[in-house]
């Protein structure tokens, strides 16, 4: 805490932390890309009154499966979901920073950021990781959320330089993204309901896992299923493992 009567009036937590405690923030390193586990495929799909995001559970390190039950989709705040692909350690740190960033702004200002404001802030955080991205430690997030002003679900994708792009309908990031997108192209329609959109997302992860070795398919033996979250006017909810298992089973039966 500052020792004088004045506080620098910033509503950004990352600016504040960079000034008073830079050691607490993720730091650029230029080696270790091959040592770090990578998280893989994340998909998002809009439905009539909301948006869903789902992520597989695999992390890889070269040709080794580093983790079978990693989680790469998180609630950013009450109305937004963030999914992240790339170097797992930096990705999870970026998510933590983004969560604090949103909450910090909300507490200081007394009201939450707009969805566009959140999307722009995330772009700036990704940009600050650019030097690491150049060294092979890239992380690419995807943001999905319910826009309280526009009353609709929206999806944003990013590139390593922090560029922010709004996607219509659906999007996928990570190593299996091309296959997942191909799948969603055939199954996704804007008039889908929530449960149909979830089924389409799970189906696309299954298709990605079919062709991409770094994406994990549903693991029925260990009961490991994708993480699925949905954002609507009621806020973000995460489906329980049992709910995802039920939808996954139905999707597999239809194959």
């Amino acid at each position: 805490m500052e020792n004088s009567g004045t506080v620098e009036l910033t509503s950004s937590f990352s600016h504040y932390a960079a000034r008073v405690a830079p050691e607490s923030l993720p730091k650029p390193t230029d080696t270790g890309a091959e040592l770090a586990p990578h998280g893989t495929t994340i998909v998002a799909a809009a439905f009539t009154n909301g948006v869903v995001m789902a992520g597989d559970r695999r992390a890889t390190m070269g040709n080794i499966i580093a983790q079978r039950d990693i989680e790469k989709v998180f609630t950013a705040d009450e109305y937004t979901i963030i999914g992240i692909a790339g170097v797992a350690g930096i990705a999870i740190e970026l998510v933590r920073l983004f969560q604090v960033e949103l909450q910090h702004y909300e507490k200081v200002e007394g009201l939450p950021l707009s969805l566009d404001g959140k999307a722009n802030r995330l772009g700036a955080l990704v940009r600050s990781n650019l030097s690491q991205a150049m060294a092979g430690l890239a992380v690419i997030p995807m943001l999905a959320g319910w826009d309280l002003q526009r009353q609709q679900g929206r999806i944003f994708s990013y590139d390593a330089t922090g560029g922010r792009y709004e996607e219509t309908g659906f999007h996928a990031i990570g190593s299996g993204a091309a296959f997942a997108r191909g799948s969603l192209k055939k199954t996704h329609r804007p008039e889908l309901g929530e449960e149909e959109a979830i089924a389409a997302a799970i189906r696309s992860l299954y298709d990605a896992a079919d062709d991409d070795s770094a994406t994990g398919g549903p693991d029925l033996a260990r009961k490991i299923f994708p993480v699925v979250m949905s954002a609507s006017h009621q806020g973000v909810r995460q489906l329980t493992s049992d709910q995802v298992a039920a939808i996954t089973t139905r999707v597999l039966e239809m194959l």
Binding site: M1, E2, N3, S4, G5, T6, V7, L9, F13, Y16, A17, V20, A21, S24, R96, L97, V100, Q103, H104, K107, V108, G110
Partner: protein
């Protein structure tokens, strides 16, 4: 160069205390009290936007009286302290006691320094425990003195009178309506209330919640 007049330290402290006390006594009061499901903050506040009560962290709330610009700065400094601590360590490592100590240090340093003007504010920091007996309410005076209050505290102009009145019928297991009625009984009539709670029944991690006008009217029984 002219030498400054010598002022005895006792006199200097007395003057500074009187200055701060005068500033605070003009302000309206805030009551922080325990109730059945948590801790309630009840403030006399004609403004709907310039808050006297605020969220600091998941289970920590803040209330202040005195000069708005000063306690607003302190409020933001508290949020920065809590968020940085929670981000560097873990969310559970942010405590009301730690925050109250930080405030006490800052207010105390300004009060006894010969250069800074003492703060004309009085603060309360409350932390919702996992169980009711772990609830903590702190009061921090303008000179950095810190008090650990057992069930309730009052800050602001009419603190002593209100404290005596509330002390007579305070019960930690009262429901929210009764707690708000008791806290606001001594307030001047017709001034809008600002009410917020740290609510133990909330399922979210963040337990701080503002009580809106509709709910407040229901609690007070005027429809």
């Amino acid at each position: 160069m002219s030498l400054p007049f010598y002022v005895a330290p006792e006199q200097q402290m007395k003057d500074r205390a009187e200055f701060a006390r005068k500033g605070i006594s003009r302000g309206r009061s805030v009551v922080v009290l325990r109730y059945r499901d948590g801790i309630a903050f009840v403030a006399e506040n004609p403004s709907h936007t310039l808050h006297k009560v605020s969220e600091i962290y998941d289970r920590i709330g803040f209330a202040a009286v005195g000069r708005y610009n000063e306690f607003e700065n302190l409020r933001i400094a508290g949020i920065q302290y809590a968020d940085l601590r929670g981000y560097s360590y873990d969310r559970r490592d942010v405590t009301g006691r730690g925050l109250a100590n930080q405030y006490a240090q800052q207010l105390g340093a300004a009060f006894s320094s010969g250069i800074d003007k003492p703060f004309e504010v009085e603060l309360s920091v409350a932390e919702l425990g996992q169980t009711a007996d772990q609830d903590q309410i702190f009061r921090i005076g303008f000179d950095g003195t810190i008090f650990d209050e057992p069930g309730f505290t009052v800050i602001g102009g009419a603190a002593e009178t209100l404290h005596a009145a509330i002390g007579k019928s305070f019960a930690a297991d009262a429901d929210l309506g009764d707690a708000v009625k008791l806290a606001s009984a001594g307030f001047s009539d017709g001034v809008a209330l600002e009410v917020a709670v740290l609510d133990r029944t909330r399922t979210q991690v963040r337990t701080f919640r503002r009580v809106g006008t509709v709910e407040l009217n229901q609690l007070l029984g005027n429809h």
